[in-house]
């Protein structure tokens, strides 16, 4: 009799320990608004620079002269000006980014498919169908978030002198935080 009781207690203990290690299906149904979203708008600085892949360094490096047909990427760098860790997401480029490219003073149009995508994102916001990749922004540090491929927005660029700015939107109905203006040249 005594051994049976001990066995039952042991089973109960084991079950309760196992249950504690598992997370429940339903989280609290209500969630407090995430204040870090607004902080991202206020406490970050967005900067960009044109880059090319450098085999010597094994990474992308500043490059302002390109040949036609050569991949042209822009490093998106976000600086956290606060003393707290901030977390942003990336992965939905047509929601987050609004590049504006000027060739010899005239704005270059987006590809037709891009226009459709950004119109949809502007109207409906993010919808969870794109990857949501967490990016941690350390306090008072610059973080390279992504290398934006301009060909995906504009197709291959013709020869000329270009100026580029990029607006970055952290959340739906948030502002596009504007970057610096950077320049590069494409030669035939």
């Amino acid at each position: 009799m005594r051994s049976r009781v001990i066995l039952m207690i042991a089973i109960l203990l084991l079950c309760s320990t196992w249950a504690r290690t598992q997370k429940p299906v339903t989280n609290p149904p209500q969630k407090v608004n995430d204040r870090s979203v607004e902080q991202l708008d206020r406490l970050t600085e967005v900067s960009i620079m044109p880059v090319g892949y450098s085999r010597r360094g094994g990474s992308y490096a500043l490059q302002q002269e390109f040949r036609t047909g050569e991949p042209i990427r822009v490093a998106l760098i976000i600086t956290n000006r606060s003393t707290e860790i901030l977390v942003m997401d990336k992965g939905d480029r047509f929601f987050h980014y609004r590049p504006r490219l000027f060739k010899d003073g005239r704005e270059v149009e987006y590809l037709e498919g891009v226009k459709k995508s950004i119109d949809s994102k502007d109207k409906y916001g993010p919808n969870g169908l794109s990857p949501v990749i967490a990016v941690t922004l350390e306090p008072n540090k610059q973080t390279t978030v992504e290398y934006v491929d301009l060909a995906k927005w504009y197709g291959p660029l013709e020869a000329g002198h270009y100026e580029l700015t990029l607006g970055h939107r952290f959340h739906h109905k948030g502002p596009h935080v504007q970057s610096n203006t950077t320049t590069f040249d494409v030669s035939p």
Binding site: Q30, Y53, P71, D89, P126, N127, G128, V132, I133, Y147
Partner: protein, 570 residues
């Protein structure tokens, strides 16, 4: 001579591996000329090969002629045999001289038909048939001729001059020939002998070392080291004692290299095929009086997956959850920014004795997805976002790139990592998929069955346009479940795929990625008719079904009978 034998073996294998062409027999002919620097001799090999079926009717025949650049015939020969006829020609070699081998290829018909000719020839004063011919006199005699059988019609071919090898086809039709030897064509090969090599310098020693690796700078002569496939190997050679001269690099295996430095003393090499390859460095003194050399081996390998850990959270429906930066009620894996949906941590390692430039090799994640999301809303009824052809349960079709390649291109051991000086690379990333439940409109129900494959890719060069890429690891995962809106309670009932958080491992892989097409669908305007949705004839536009759904969750629509039934409290 070894090269010659190798070539002969290679061509022989090539011949037997090539499938026979339908409705035509084939014969293979080739010429190979080689130079043996030990005996200072030029060798020629001329071969005709008849296939198994053809050998029943023909024997192979070849003639070989070896010429120098002045057109002097140095050696010749012929051979006839059942399957393979081969003749070797040989001549002493002079430096920097061109030698050319011509091989004339024939088939010899094996069978003939004897035809007795009973015609008289009034002009040659003798007849073929003494008894039948009125002109015949005592000198006449009966005569006959042999006609050779060419069942595959090789004699109708187009003899010509070809390169080192050629297939000769018998196109037919079958015919009888007056000649026994059927000329097929001529193949040829040539080479130019190298300049004379200076003798070995007895007092000079060549060393060769790498700028990278655990024993960087040490002499690798006679040893074997690993290198990472496709990545740069920076080597330097030295001569002891210091002597004016030039280095020459001889590198086996498929590779690219760029010698540089003083007198070509350094070389950056990238091998593009796996396996053991020999590197030989030869130093020639400036006055050309003598030379010295050394060599070592490299073993080009693809790094392997060290560890690949995946931590997956639970799916949950949260009122006003705003998970993954969506607005309002959400169904999500985890709830970005905390907790995240799924986290990936992968490590790759190469042999510790590698000598490649570590920063030239990288790893990255690439994710593909087969999406399936099905929602029901009052105004639009049932809609899906998917590229699958078979619907909810079809996880074979509809695969597309998720986001971009790389999945996460952040440097510094986040989405993309370089190998360290100890030839280890570590990357980490995450995903937090989600779906809104009441934006831009209230969902009555949602079904999600998104299947993913997250690959770990070894690559060299630009992450977006690599020179070389190989899959080394793969983790398959999914998220989803069923969410039903409960209007009376303003809540949702949830049946998640993953009621508990899990930890699992990705597995090593070396097969290429699963084929995928284009990019995953990401727009609100991508919601469309579901692939498996076939509206019943009694309700072709779905109006009755939508009306039933508007009556609330206590009513259920039966598409088979097109009835809206009260199902009461659940």
């Amino acid at each position: 001579m070894k090269k010659l034998i190798f070539c002969a073996a290679l061509f022989f294998c090539l011949y037997w591996l090539v499938p026979l062409q339908a409705n035509a027999q084939q014969t293979f002919g080739f010429s190979a000329v080689g130079y043996d620097d030990v005996t200072n001799t030029v060798y020629g090999s001329s071969t005709t090969v008849v296939d198994y079926v053809g050998a029943f009717h023909y024997t192979a025949y070849v003639e070989g002629y070896l010429y120098d650049q002045s057109g002097n015939l140095l050696d010749s020969g012929y051979d006839e045999n059942y399957f393979i006829a081969e003749v070797l020609t040989i001549a002493p070699a002079l430096p920097v001289t061109q030698y050319t081998l011509y091989s004339d290829h024939y088939l010899v018909a094996r069978y003939f038909t004897t035809v007795v000719i009973r015609e008289c020839d009034p002009y040659c004063y003798y007849c073929y048939d003494y008894f039948a011919d009125p002109y015949c006199d005592s000198y006449c005699y009966s005569c006959y001729n042999d006609y050779w059988w060419d069942p595959f019609g090789f004699s109708f071919g187009y003899p010509g001059y070809y390169g080192p090898w050629w297939y000769f086809y018998g196109y037919g039709p079958p015919t009888n020939l007056e000649v026994e030897y059927i000329y097929l064509g001529t193949t040829s090969d040539s080479l130019i002998t190298p300049p004379p090599q200076p003798p070995q310098c007895g007092n000079l020693t060549v060393t060769v070392g790498s700028f990278y690796g655990s024993d960087a700078g040490s002499n690798l002569s006679g040893q074997t080291r690993h290198v990472l496939l496709g990545s740069t190997v920076a080597l330097a050679a030295d001569i002891i004692p210091e002597t004016p001269g030039t280095f020459r690099w001889s590198i086996a295996g498929s590779h690219q290299d760029s010698p540089s430095g003083t007198n070509n003393s350094t070389d950056d090499i990238r091998w593009t095929d796996e396996g053991v390859h020999r590197v030989t460095v030869t130093f020639v003194k400036n006055d050309g009086s003598c030379q010295a050399s050394t060599s070592f081996n490299v073993n080009a390998v693809v790094p392997t997956l060290g560890s690949y850990m995946v931590r997956q959270n639970v799916e949950q429906a949260i009122i006003n959850g705003n998970c993954s930066r969506l607005t309002g009620d959400t169904f999500s894996l985890g709830c970005f920014p905390s907790p995240l949906g799924i986290l990936f941590d992968a490590t790759a390692a190469a042999p510790t004795d590698s000598i490649s430039v570590p920063s030239d090799s990288h790893i990255k994640f690439v994710q593909i997805v087969s999406q399936y999301r099905r929602r029901n809303t009052i105004p639009y009824g049932t809609q899906c976002v998917t590229s699958r052809t078979g619907g909810y349960s079809d996880t074979v079709t509809g695969w597309a790139l998720d986001g971009s390649d790389p999945y996460d291109d952040r440097p510094d051991r986040l989405g993309v990592a370089n190998f360290t000086t100890t030839y280890i690379a570590t990357i980490a990333t995450s995903d937090s998929p989600a779906n809104p439940l009441n934006t831009p409109l209230q969902y009555q129900s949602l079904d999600v069955n998104d299947q993913f494959e997250m690959y770990v890719i070894y690559f060299v060069g630009d992450p977006q346009h690599p020179d070389l890429a190989r899959v080394i690891g793969k983790a398959s995962w999914n998220w989803g479940g069923n969410v039903e809106f409960v209007p009376d309670a303003s809540d949702y009932s949830v049946s998640p795929f993953h009621p508990f958080s899990t930890i699992f491992s990705g597995s090593p892989a070396n097969d290429p990625m699963r084929p995928y097409t284009g990019l995953a669908k990401v727009l609100e305007t991508d919601w469309a008719a579901c692939p498996e949705f076939n509206p019943p004839a009694c309700d072709p536009d779905g109006t009755a079904a939508a009306a039933c759904r508007r009556r609330g969750y206590r009513y259920e629509w039966d598409p088979d009978s097109c009835t809206c039934s009260y199902i009461g409290m659940l």
